[in-house]
């Protein structure tokens, strides 16, 4: 199977994730979109690893997973505490830090 399809899939997933981050208001959805982007990147890394015949990309993917796991823990905790204080999970409502 031609590995370039995986690249295309990865790009498509990344785009969906990016668009989701930009246009969705719900913090949980935005968060999931970020995860989507990370996973798209992981997919790309593994594909390149395979194409080049080296394991570097796969190792990188493990690192990304570890970072993503840590990020999920902290991110969800932040979203929880925001929801508790503001009774809303909309990212647009948390806009006090501005000019």
């Amino acid at each position: 199977m031609d590995p370039s399809y995986y690249i295309v899939l990865s790009a498509a997933l990344f785009t969906i994730g990016a668009v989701g981050v930009l246009i969705r208001r719900n913090a949980i959805v935005v968060f999931m979109c970020i995860e989507l982007m990370l996973n798209a990147a992981n997919l790309a890394l593994i594909t390149f690893s395979r194409m080049n015949g080296s394991l570097d990309g796969q190792i990188m993917a493990f690192f990304v997973m570890v970072v993503a796991a840590a990020e999920v823990v902290i991110g969800l905790a932040i979203i929880m505490s925001i929801f508790r204080t503001r009774r809303s999970a909309s990212v647009d409502d948390a806009n006090l830090l501005k000019y």
Binding site: V21, I23, V91, N95, L96, Y99
Partner: protein, 640 residues
């Protein structure tokens, strides 16, 4: 006219024996000044005694050195290099001292007359709370003046020159709570700066052209310079001399300097400091003799200034200011002498020495009069004082006879030869300058007679409550000694000092000019008698108590021939407008640019701040945009 003075090279012998300690001369008064300054009020009780003792000790030391110098044979000079003063690149200035016949007579004048005036000041300043401060300044002056005449290079001369300027400033403004005194000090300081700038540039020129500022290097090298360079150098030196000596066009500060205590006027602004300009020119005679135009300029300034001094002296009513203008005019005679060059250099120096005696004596006499008349200085309010202060009357009278040049007092032996030398200058200029000097002699006789008659003779015109009395002995003894000097110095010095100064000022054959010695003496005596008679006839009955309306000449003379007005209009007013324009430029121009920039940055950042919306989405968008840009740039670089 003989322009070549220095066929032989100038060379100074190194000092040996006790002469190598000539630095003591200025170190003693300097140390005394330092003690008086540092101890402050703790020295109030005995400060004046230390001040007098240090100067008298310096005088004794000066006499010792003088006789040792006299004992030397051949090249009579003693040069000492104490340490390297300014070793900067190829400029090497040593803290070097030189005692030669010229500086030796100045040392004796400064310390001798200085000692007498210090003693006098003990009595004069007895009731002044600042007497210790006064003596500290006075000692500082003596030290600086000795440094001025003892230097072996122009930088040392300049060092002393600025030192006496400082002391003069401090002493003119001694009564600093009096606005007029404070202003007069500032005026003297500023006008001196004009001259000093010229002197400094002359030194730069010496260094640029000759690579040295030592006397011997400059005098030996001056013949290699072009006439133009010599002229510029001489004119700049002359500017410095005019500033210090109160000569045209920088004469306006000297009369105002009379705001200081009278001993200051006597010592600094009559006998010593103001003659430093004459010293400078006589010392630099190799430079001044090397260019005929330069000499003409010096002679013209001397002749012009002596007339200015005489004319204004005739119209002033303040006893000290009349004497001040007479100083201006007598220094004009000295400038005339040093400008004529040749044998007249020595004539100027002996006139300087004689003037040191009689003018200091008269100033101290004026101080004695003021002391007895409750600090009255207006000669219209004196009269008939001879009966009340006999010693002052006689000593002042001897000084007066000396200055107008009646034989056998000193002025006759020192002023007449200058007039003779002026007449014997070749060409029509001889008649011009000789005539000016002759006219000046007549005017001097007139205004000094006016001063003397109005002060000591005629009816009493005192203000109420005056009880004139003779001053204490501590003041009259210096008066008597100075009077003796003004009687005897002329006759004693007229030949011996000329011979003594020959090694420095050059040897000159007796010149036979167009007019004989006796002709000029006769003419001078006639003019002096005329002025004297006019003065006696006009003023023997006293004078009006108030200022009288007068013609344009007298009004001009009363206003110092509008010298102050001229300075204000030509220098001060444009200066004031210039500063005003600069302030405007600073406020509106420079501050405007700076403030405008600040406002622009402030406003710009205020606008830019709006980009921080607080919406995470917009930050994410800008991150995306940024990332896209980076990728695009990378692709452009790698693919393009």
């Amino acid at each position: 006219m003989d322009n070549i003075q220095y066929s032989a090279a100038v060379e100074y012998a190194a000092a040996s024996g006790t002469l190598s300690s000539i630095w003591l001369l200025f170190a003693i008064p300097l140390a005394s000044a330092a003690v008086l300054f540092l101890l402050g009020r703790r020295a109030d009780k005995w400060g004046h005694l230390l001040g007098v003792a240090s100067v008298v000790a310096t005088f004794v030391l000066g006499l010792v050195y003088f006789f040792q110098l006299k004992g030397l044979s051949g090249n009579r000079s003693a040069e000492v290099d104490l340490f390297s003063f300014m070793p900067v690149g190829s400029l090497k200035v040593d803290f070097g001292l030189l005692l030669d016949p010229l500086s030796a007579v100045f040392v004796l004048l400064i310390t001798g007359v200085g000692s007498l005036i210090h003693i006098y000041a003990v009595g004069y300043m007895a009731h002044d709370p600042g007497r210790r401060r006064f003596f500290a300044f006075f000692n500082l002056f003596i030290a600086a003046m000795l440094l001025l005449v003892l230097g072996n290079n122009y930088v040392m001369l300049y060092f002393g020159w600025e030192g006496v300027g400082l002391a003069s400033y401090l002493l003119i403004s001694f009564f600093f709570d009096k606005p007029s005194a404070a202003t007069a000090g500032k005026k003297a300081f500023l006008m001196n700066r004009v001259g000093d700038a010229g002197f400094a540039i002359a030194m730069f020129l010496m260094f640029a052209q000759l690579g040295s500022v030592n006397y011997d290097d400059v005098f030996n090298g001056v013949n290699q310079l072009t006439q133009g360079t010599v002229l510029v150098m001489g004119l700049l030196l002359l500017l410095g001399a005019c500033g210090k000596s109160g000569q045209f066009p920088l004469q306006a500060w000297l009369p105002d300097a009379m705001e200081g205590p009278t001993p200051v006027s006597a010592l600094i602004h009559a006998a010593t400091m103001v003659t430093a300009g004459v010293y400078l020119i006589a010392r630099s005679n190799a430079v001044f003799s090397a260019n005929a135009t330069l000499q003409t300029v010096v002679v013209s300034i001397g002749a012009l200034t002596l007339l200015i001094g005489c004319v204004i002296g005739c119209a002033k009513d303040d006893i000290k200011r009349v004497l001040a203008y007479s100083t201006v005019s007598q220094i004009g005679y000295m400038f005339l002498g040093v400008g004529l060059g040749g044998a007249a250099y020595a004539l100027a120096i002996i006139h300087l020495l004689a003037h040191g005696f009689f003018k200091a004596g008269m100033f101290l006499g004026a101080g004695s009069v003021m002391h007895g008349m409750q600090d009255q200085v207006d000669i219209r309010r004196f009269g008939g004082l001879w009966k009340y202060m006999k010693i002052t009357w006689i000593t002042f009278g001897l000084g007066y006879v000396a200055i107008i040049g009646l034989p056998p007092l000193s002025g006759f032996f020192t002023k007449d030869p200058i007039i003779l030398a002026a007449f014997n200058r070749p060409g029509w200029t001889g008649w011009l300058f000789g005539g000016a000097a002759l006219l000046g002699a007549g005017l001097t006789a007139f205004y000094m007679t006016r001063l003397f008659v109005l002060t000591f003779h005629g009816p009493k015109r005192w203000t109420d409550g005056q009880h004139p009395h003779e001053s204490p002995a501590v003041m009259t003894v210096p008066l008597v000694l100075l009077a003796v000097g003004s009687v005897a110095s002329g006759f004693l010095m007229s030949t011996s000092v000329v011979d003594w100064l020959t090694p420095v000022l050059g040897k000159h054959a007796e010149e036979h000019g167009r007019l004989g010695h006796w002709t000029v003496t006769g003419m001078t005596m006639a003019v002096v008698a005329l002025g004297l008679a006019a003065g006696v006839l006009l003023f023997r009955k006293g004078t009006a108590l108030e200022e009288q309306p007068a013609g344009p000449v007298v009004t001009a003379a009363r206003n110092n021939l509008y010298a102050d007005t001229f300075n204000e209009l030509v220098f001060e007013l444009p200066g004031r407008y210039l500063t005003r324009a600069l302030v405007f430029l600073d406020n509106r121009g420079i501050d405007g640019v700076v403030n405008g920039l600040a406002a622009m940055v402030g406003g710009g950042s205020g606008r830019l701040r709006r980009a921080q919306t607080g919406y995470v989405r917009s930050y994410a968008l800008s991150m995306l945009g940024g990332a896209l840009l980076v990728v695009a740039a990378l692709m452009a670089v790698t693919l393009g």
